[in-house]
Every structure is written in C-alpha cells, then in structure tokens.
C-alpha cells in the first residue's frame, strides 16, 4: 500500500511538471533569432562573455542576510511554546532580538550596508 503511494507520488510529481512544460511549449509563441540566445534581451549587444564576476558587494549582503535568515530557525520553536512559557520566554526572545538588532546596527554603522 505504502509503496504504491510513493510511486503514485513520484509519478504525479513528474506528470505535473511535465504537463506544465508541455502546455507552455504548445501555447507559447516562439521566436527564433540570435538575440534570443543572449544573456539579456534588452536590445544592446552584450560585450564579452556573460560568465563574468559579480561584485563582491553582493557577497557582503548575502552573508549578512544569511545570518539573519538562519536565526529564524530558533524563533520557530520559541513561537510554539511561547504561550505556555509566558513572560520568561518573551523576555528571552526580546534579549535575543536585541543582540541581533545590535549586530545589524553595528553592520550599518560600519557602512557594511552601503552600496558603492
């Protein structure tokens, strides 16, 4: 019983994606020209390879984002028990947010968030 369910699950997953792609291939208008294969279709021919290096500034934002993003992992369990734990849990999360906010403030003050 379980095996069938699993197979059905995979089949339906493949089917949903496949049908979507098939439909778009059938319905969508097709244009065949050289610009189609360029990295940006904005009318201006690209100069050089489109495999270029990205600015290091992106990484800085990504790293700061990453840290704050992962902290949500600690907030979910807190949200589950927040009601039963009452005031203590609330104060603890305030301290947690306070330290996180201080970190953001520090990054801001050190011009890590400036784009230039």
């Amino acid at each position: 019983m379980d095996k069938e369910a699993l197979i059905l699950f995979f089949l339906s997953a493949i089917a949903i994606v496949g049908i979507g792609m098939l439909l778009s291939w059938l319905v969508a208008p097709k244009s065949k020209n050289i610009q189609k294969k360029e990295a940006y279709e904005c009318g201006i021919p690209t100069v050089g390879s489109s495999y270029m290096q990205f600015r290091v500034g992106y990484y800085l934002f990504a790293i700061i984002f990453l840290i704050f993003d992962v902290e949500t992992v600690f907030i979910f369990p807190w949200a589950v028990v927040m009601k039963s734990m009452g005031m203590t849990a609330f104060i603890e999360i305030i301290i947690f947010f306070g330290i996180l906010g201080l970190g953001l403030l520090y990054a801001w003050k050190k011009n890590a968030l400036r784009w230039d």
Binding site: I99, L102, L105, Y106, K109
Partner: protein, 478 residues
C-alpha cells in the same frame, strides 16, 4: 527558577555585558581615535577578572545544562588573566596608525572567544558544549585573518576555519553515536548510562579526535604551525595559551565525568598520543628558524606534557593540569610578548635576527630568557614545578616508562629553548636589532608574566589550593 539563579552565570553574563558595551563604544568613537575604546575595554576586562576572584556560588542552571563550581571559576579566572595580558600586549600593535579603525573588531572578537570558552568549560550538556566550542573557534579564525592585506594572515584564517569546521563535524558524529547509546545528551545522564561497547568506543574516538584538534595533539596538529606563523603575533599568543588551555580544561572534565566508564579505553589512547605528541613536537621544533613556528612546535610538545596530567584521571592529575596551564600562560605569553614587541618594532620574526639582542635590549632579552627557562622547565622557575608535578601525576598511576620518555624529551627541549637564549646572548651579529622602547602596556604585561612565573613557582599555596579544589570536584562526582 528565579532570576537570582542567573548569578551563577556571573562570569559569562559580565562578559556578555562587556561585549555589548564594547560594541556600543566602538560605534560611538571616531575612526581616527580609538584610544578611549581601548581603555574602556581594558578597564572592563580588568574589572571582570578581579570580580572573578570573589567567592561565587556553585550549582546548576537550566536543568543541568550549565554547571559551575569553584574549580570552574578557577579555570575561567586563568583564561580571563590570559585575555587581559594579551589585550595589554596588543596595545602598541592596535594603536598603529591605520590599524586603529578596526581596533573594535579585534577586541570584540577576543571577548567573544572568551565568552565561548567560559560556556564551554561550564557546559553540562553536549549542545552547550558545542555552542561554546564554536563560539570559541569561529571568531578566532576571523582574528587569525585580521591583517587583511597580508596573504599569510588570510591563509592562516582559512586553514583554521576549514580544519576547525571539519574537526567539529567529526566530533559531532561521535556525539551522535554517544547519543544513540545513552539516549540523553546531559553529561550526568550520559555518565550514568554509558558502558564500554564497540559503539561507544567509536563515539569516544571521534569525539576525542575533535578535541585533540583544538589542543593540537600530534595526529591532529598539522594546522598549528601554519596558523601560528601566519596569524598576527598577538592572536597567535592567545591561540596558544587561552584556546589550548580551555580545550584542555574541558577535556579533563569530560574524560573524567562523561567518559569515566570508558576509562580503560581512553587511557591507552592518551598514552600513545602523549609519546608521539611530545616526540614529534620536539623534533620539529629543533629545526625551526622562525620564532612563531618554533613556539608553535614547542606548544605542541607542551600539549603532550599537559596530557600527562590527564592520564592520571584523579584529583592530582586535574590539579597539575590546571597548574601547568597557569604557568604556561605566564611563560608563553612572556615569550610571545617579546616576539610581538620585536616584530612590531622591526618586523623581524627569525631567530637568526635575534643574534646580539642582549647588547641592544638587555631587559627584553632577560624576559625572553626567563620565559625560555620556564618553558624548558629549569628550576627554580614555575615551569619546572609544573612539569615536575605532571611527572608525579603520571608516575602516581604507575606509568613509569611514559614518565621516563617525557623526562628524556624535556632534555631535548632544553636544547632548542637554549638555542634562542644562545642567539640573544652569545652569537655575534654585525647589525643587531637596534635599541627600542616598548610601550607601557607591553611593559606592564611582561612584568605581570615575570611575576607570575616567579610567584606561582615559589608559593606552594597555589598548587595546594588547586589540589584541594580538584579533590572536592572528584568527591562531588561520587
């Protein structure tokens, strides 16, 4: 649980408060003049260090996740002292023009590492231990790569973070096996349940490998020399005393509590590690010409000596470990302080450059000489007593051959420690390092180190106090 229970975490809470203060202070001082920031940080750290000596309550917090007691406080005090000395030594380097802008980062990372080490020592649960260990490692990698435009520094940071992450992964895998065997992650619970099977042995070995990396015992020492050489000298000194000391402390605690029932498994393991660590550390130290690399290999050998106290698995062993780390803090920081002063002034790191140093800078040479004597274990300095007690601890359990090998290695180590002294006092040099005056903070730190070397060596009360506390610790276990 009431809020007064949080007083048990006094040291850590104060350190966290200090970190927040430093963070805010860093934001409020201008980039060009950070002297005020340095003074504030130093003052807070000194206050915390002094407060650490006040009597503190002992007990448990968060259902046994956090354990404290007199012996834990003692260990944390040693680490606090080491941090204050490192902070004093790095003043001249931090206040160099152009460096000042990033001074706040250095101090903040240093304090974060100290917080991590404190939590690691006091942990009573594997999650707490892991968190503390990582907090004590990740900022260290950033510190090692502190000098942004030096490729050596960048290299050191990368080697440290990659190998630290890898070794903590291995440690965690071992922890997961122990969890499977015990069903709990509380140290107390694991201690009560764990028995010696192939499964738990594998867990112990993986766990030990992870910690062995931090102490840089020999099969896991490959990162040490490169990181020590590449990192800024002040960071290296912190890495070699505080980081290593904290790891040794928690290793002693964990082996004697959590893995107590696996005693006959880790005893031969430690036995073999001691022999190869001391021997290889010594042999490699012989051929180093760079002072930081030389001290790196000498610190590997010293780590092997420290393990002699671990193998004793009793009150005496623990006391000797703590005593030796205290002595090691003073001696090694004195040596690194002189090396840092010279590097700051002239940028020279090679032992050959030290030729004729005594003629131009007699006082610094004397400090270096004392440090080397203490590291080599020449009586009447503290290092001698440290090593002597370690040998006693190992011999007490009947490891006579091991003790003999360690003693023989002490003689080899004497040779290379004396090489440095020979370079400074006897060797001729056409162009020795010129006379210079190190800054006041450095002088104060060196005086503290020298006093430490002499006082801990000559007052027997220090060691008695440690033995007393360790025996109490072992009594509460039963």
């Amino acid at each position: 649980m009431s809020f007064s229970d949080f007083l048990l975490m006094r040291n850590e809470l104060l350190l966290v408060a200090a970190a927040v203060i430093i963070l805010i202070a860093d934001m409020s001082f201008s980039d060009e003049n950070k002297r005020g920031l340095y003074n504030i940080s130093l003052l807070t750290m000194i206050i915390i260090t002094v407060l650490g000596f006040l009597p503190a309550p002992s007990g448990k917090l968060f259902g046994g996740m956090y354990i404290t007691g007199d012996i834990y406080i003692l260990m944390k005090n040693i680490l606090n002292i080491a941090t204050v000395i490192v902070l004093l030594q790095s003043r001249g380097w931090l206040e160099k023009p152009g460096q000042q802008k990033r001074m706040g980062e250095f101090i903040l990372l240093l304090v974060s590492v100290l917080i991590g080490m404190s939590y690691m020592i006091s942990s009573g649960h594997f999650i707490m231990f892991y968190l503390g260990m990582e907090l004590a490692t990740i900022p260290l990698a950033a510190l090692a790569a502190y000098e942004l435009n030096k490729s050596k520094s960048a290299e050191a940071g990368i080697k440290l973070i990659l190998l630290a992450a890898f070794s903590s992964g291995i440690l965690l895998f071992g922890t997961s096996l122990i969890y499977a065997a015990a069903g709990t992650l509380y140290f107390e619970g694991v201690m009560a349940i764990l028995d010696s099977t192939a499964f738990t042995t594998l867990g112990l070995i993986l766990f030990f490998a992870g910690l062995g990396f931090k102490i840089s015992l020999v099969p896991f020492h490959l990162w040490t020399a490169d990181v020590y050489e590449g990192a800024p000298t002040n960071v290296t000194s912190f890495l070699s005393v505080a980081s290593k000391g904290a790891a040794v402390f928690i290793l002693v605690i964990i082996l004697n509590t959590v893995f107590k029932s696996l005693n006959d498994v880790w005893d031969p393991m430690v036995y073999a590690l001691i022999i190869i660590t001391i021997t290889i550390g010594n042999l490699f130290a012989l051929r180093q010409r760079n002072i930081k690399r030389f001290l790196a290999f000498s610190s590997i050998a010293q780590a092997g000596f420290i393990m002699l106290g671990v193998i004793n698995d009793g009150g005496l062993g623990m006391a000797t470990v703590i005593y030796f780390v205290l002595v090691y803090v003073f001696s090694n920081l004195a040596a690194f302080g002189v090396a840092a002063a010279i590097e700051n002034e002239t940028g020279k790191e090679s032992i050959d450059d030290y030729n004729g140093f005594y003629r131009t800078n007699p006082r610094l040479s004397l400090v270096m000489m004392l440090a080397m004597f203490s590291l080599a274990g020449i009586p009447p300095f503290a290092g001698f007593f440290g090593k002597f007690f370690l040998f006693t601890a190992a011999a007490e359990k009947g490891y006579y051959i091991l003790t003999l090998i360690a003693v023989l290695n002490t003689i080899i180590s004497l040779y290379y420690y004396l090489l440095v002294i020979k370079a400074m006092f006897i060797d001729k040099n056409g162009a020795p390092i010129g006379y210079f005056k190190s800054d006041t903070a450095m002088q104060v730190s060196l005086v503290i180190c020298i006093l430490g070397i002499i006082v801990t060596g000559f007052t027997s009360g220090v060691f008695d106090y440690m033995v007393n506390l360790s025996q109490q610790f072992f009594l509460t276990l039963q």
